[in-house]
């Protein structure tokens, strides 16, 4: 019988999280973390993870904030994120550490912007070093599994949250054999313990209340002391884990260091390439070795000094910006007289192979003088300066002056068509603020882009306010510009709603277009608050389909009293363009908002040729009425001339395949009631 399963790093993390029996899991999708939360959603839907609430929140900030409440109430919790998601949590990362909540979070390491990059580097979690969390890094999928289990034990013993980090794609998307433990063994290893400072209704207390300086100081001093005790906590937890699994963990591991003169310090999956390189050097007779930082925070100074006791030269390898590992190692070895050479490699996902590391070893061996900074290695400087001209991907003539051929959308995508219509109407003076969305990919990697107007990529939650900045500056500079925020439903309905509401209330001179494909399609199709009731998505798999209805964004925006709010469909181009003309004409009056239904064929599970027909059927079946609210005056802009039953719209879509006739009858009643409401709004307002 097999004792190992072939798992991706994401699956290994999800399996360990499941076996840890968390009671509350919260998550927000971000590449490359999605594999973890999708697997957990499956476990919840199948009943394998019973007694657990899985909460698909509207942002990473809320993911950790939800756990702040849940963990304070005394239950075991879990979340996972990556890159910008981790950065967006930053406030809560500090908060839950200060609250001494034993939360376990997985971070899948990914480069951070600007510019966008979804490949692995570790700047994201390493930049969160001074937040009070314990940080662990895995070198293989086996370690991912083991460290998640170990993390709970450490967190609950120390009342300090633990972040388990592993390399995006290199581990998260790679399948490897992983030895898992039986549920009973995990249960014994992770007994449910009462948190001493959990909420107790019979003894009400306030948590995190304002503290006088001396009281605050004492709490923080105690926290610092407890962090200093981490080595002992780690050792105790690891000993228990070895008894349960037979596998040993230490904060710092070594490879062939006993007689090594030169030792490279590395972490994460890079460790494996370092081991390979050490073997090659040993065959050449070089006394090389390696040390691995499994624990990065608190930094294991003493363990590292012991591991490097015989080394004359040490190489600090940073697979991240800002030479964070180099600084830590220099500081840890400052009194030992060892020469520390810093190298930075792999930033933004540049592959790290043995030849590159061999060169570092050889260079450091030869050097007499120690450079005073980390040296970047791995990518040659271009022979000529890169061209400044933005290029198209396919040199054929376009029917649109502002959108050239060669965009990077899926076949049958309507999001690409949406921007085409927008630019056709708004023209050359348009300046786009583009948050994370499918269009972040469609717009192409620099220096290629099909977009022929200025385009500013911006973080997920910032479309409206970034566009506001474009508008304000254009006004100051006396430039004739139209600021356009172009966002998906996730960036509008969920994470971007706060910035949108603020911009609408302040009257920012912005046109805001939401292209709505009813889920997080760029990350593979997780539910958003725009997803209709009953839809199966990657985070609401059957039979746990989405219980809530679609958020009514049109009414929310109209309620802001903005000059113009409208819905549109990509299948009704004339109606859409007329609305764009209006939005354009109301320049200077405040924020204008258009919500466009733009079907996604992979996400809706329809044939690519069906995308436009679905957009048409959505309108014809009254699922998506075309309306506007022009300075408070409501109007239905298109009355379907042929009544189409809602089933005609729903039945062809794979995401609704499980719906019964009764389910569709309920949806039909809801659509009718919403239509009648628009009829009344038109009549009376």
């Amino acid at each position: 019988m097999r004792t190992r399963s072939i798992l991706t790093g994401s699956e290994a993390a999800a399996f360990a999280a499941k076996q840890s029996r968390p009671r509350v899991v919260s998550a927000y999708p971000i590449t490359p973390q999605t594999g973890i939360i999708e697997k957990l959603s499956e476990y919840v839907a199948s009943g394998e993870l019973a007694g657990c609430q899985f909460v698909p929140v509207e942002s990473e900030h809320s993911a950790l904030a939800l756990l702040n409440g849940a963990a304070q109430a005394g239950v075991r919790t879990f979340t996972a994120t990556s890159s910008h998601g981790l950065l967006y949590m930053h406030e809560m990362i500090h908060w839950v550490a200060g609250a001494r909540l034993p939360i376990v979070m997985v971070n899948v390491n990914r480069a951070i912007g600007s510019p966008w990059n979804i490949a692995c580097d570790r700047t994201d979690s390493l930049s969160q070093r001074d937040t009070g969390w314990i940080q662990l890094y895995a070198a293989s999928n086996q370690e991912v599994y083991d460290l998640v289990l170990l993390a709970y034990r450490i967190a609950e013993a120390s009342l300090i949250p633990v972040m388990v980090c592993f390399d995006g794609f290199l581990l998260s998307h790679t399948k490897e054999p992983v030895a898992t433990l039986a549920d009973e063994i995990v249960d014994t290893f992770l007994p449910v313990r009462a948190m001493p400072h959990a909420i107790d209704p019979s003894d009400p207390k306030a948590f995190g209340a304002a503290s006088a300086p001396e009281y605050y100081w004492r709490l923080k001093r105690r926290f610092a002391d407890d962090l200093a005790r981490t080595p002992r906590v780690f050792r105790t937890a690891a000993t228990a884990f070895t008894r349960a699994s037979g596998r040993a963990y230490r904060p710092v591991d070594t490879y062939r260091t006993s007689d090594a003169e030169i030792v490279m310090v590395a972490m994460g999956s890079t460790w494996r390439i370092v081991e390979e390189t050490v073997d090659q050097l040993r065959m050449e007779g070089v006394r090389a070795g390696a040390a691995k930082l499994t624990q990065f925070r608190p930094f294991p100074d003493a363990a590292l000094r012991a591991a490097l006791a015989h080394a004359k030269k040490v190489i600090a390898l940073d697979v991240n910006q800002y030479a964070i590992i180099y600084d830590e190692i220099r500081s840890a070895l400052s009194e030992t007289g060892v020469s520390v050479f810093g190298y930075t490699a792999g930033v933004g996902g540049v592959p790290i192979g043995s030849p590159l590391l061999l060169d570092m070893f050889r260079e450091a061996l030869l050097q007499k003088k120690v450079p005073r900074r980390s040296l970047w290695r791995g990518v040659a400087e271009p022979e000529s300066a890169p061209g400044r001209k933005v290029r198209t991907m396919i040199p054929i003539k376009s029917s649109s002056p502002y959108l050239a051929p060669g965009h990077r959308a899926c076949v049958g995508c309507t999001a690409s068509l949406t921007l085409r219509h927008v630019l056709d109407v708004l023209g050359a003076r348009t300046q786009i603020a583009l948050p994370a969305s499918c269009w972040s990919i469609i717009a192409g990697p620099n220096p290629y882009t099909p977009v022929r107007v200025p385009l500013v990529h911006c973080p997920f939650e910032t479309a409206a306010v970034t566009a506001g900045g474009l508008a304000r500056a254009a006004s100051e500079l006396g430039r004739d510009a139209t600021a356009l925020a172009f966002a998906g439903d996730g960036g509008t309905f969920d994470i971007g709603l706060q910035a949108l509401s603020g911009a609408a209330e302040r009257g920012e001179d912005v046109i805001y277009i939401c292209y709505d494909n009813e889920a997080y399609m760029n990350t593979g199709g997780q539910r958003s608050s725009s997803t209709p009731r009953g839809a199966a998505t990657e985070t609401t798999p059957y039979p746990n389909t989405k219980p809530q209805g679609k958020k009514n964004m049109m009414k929310i925006m109209a309620a802001h009293g903005i000059p113009y709010a409208a819905t549109a469909s990509i299948a009704h181009a004339d109606d859409f363009r007329a609305k764009l003309e209006k939005a354009n004409a109301y320049r200077g009056q405040g924020l204008r908002f258009i919500h466009v239904l733009a079907p996604c064929n992979p996400g809706w599970k329809i044939d690519p040729g069906e995308s436009l027909r679905m957009a048409h059927l959505a309108v014809a079946s009254l699922a998506f009425p075309l309306v506007e609210c022009d300075h408070g005056k409501w109007r239905i802009t298109h009355r379907p001339d042929r009544a189409v039953d809602l089933a005609e719209y729903i039945r062809p879509q794979g995401r609704f395949a499980h719906l019964t006739d009764a389910d569709i009858a309920l949806a039909r009643a809801a659509a009718l009631s919403s239509w009648e409401e628009f009829e009344k709004l038109e009549r009376y307002f």
Binding site: I6, F169, L170, H173, T174, N601
Partner: protein
């Protein structure tokens, strides 16, 4: 180490095929036809239906330290014949390496590759569609190609072994997947001799 690259398009099932292969050829003890160390990975990047995506599989006797894509495969499996015209599917393939192509015609059509490589073809689109796997526009060809693969690759898994593996691993359309694999096993064309 044996390195296998799958060249396909987003939505064709190449990633799943790579995962199935890693699982099928794995066994801790490493008995005949299996390896104690395996890995599989897709192209790292955003998922887009229809765009060219590769998957990478490794089998080894010793622990596998390398990760990510590799440049020099021993075997290449091409899920979409169009890719043979738009990309260099044999990039990095070792002299005499196996090139298994999903195409409706025989290896002779790929004269550019014949001689340098061992070319085999299988009309997996037709076979998968015939057995109701995927849609006609996007047939899911992974199990069909696995049937052809175990015939021509000679890595020690038999067609009965594959059928048993599919039965244990694939929950949806299990019988159709097994039938398509057996069908492909019978029809795969190596150019040297007609196998059916």
């Amino acid at each position: 180490m044996i390195r296998i690259r799958i060249n396909g398009r987003g939505g064709q099932g190449g990633k799943t095929m790579a995962e199935l292969m890693a699982t099928m050829y794995y066994s801790e003890s490493g008995e005949a036809g299996t390896y104690p160390h395996v890995s599989s990975a897709p192209t790292f990047g955003p998922e887009r239906r229809g765009s060219p995506v590769d998957a990478f599989i490794r089998f080894n006797e010793a622990p596998i330290r390398e990760l990510g894509p590799f440049a020099y495969p021993d075997i290449v499996i091409v899920l979409d014949e169009v890719l043979t015209r738009t990309t260099n599917v044999a990039a990095g393939l070792k002299e005499g390496g196996l090139l298994l192509i999903n195409a409706p015609h025989g290896p002779d059509t790929f004269s550019a590759y014949q001689g340098r490589f061992r070319v085999a073809t299988i009309d997996a689109d037709r076979i998968a569609a015939l057995h109701g796997l995927g849609s006609r526009a996007t047939p899911i060809v992974n199990t069909t190609l696995l049937g052809a693969f175990v015939r021509v690759a000679g890595l020690g898994v038999t067609i009965d072994g594959l059928a048993a593996f599919i039965a244990s691993e694939i929950k949806k359309k299990t019988e159709a997947n097994i039938a398509a694999a057996r069908h492909a096993y019978a029809c795969v064309c190596t150019g040297k001799e007609e196998t059916s």
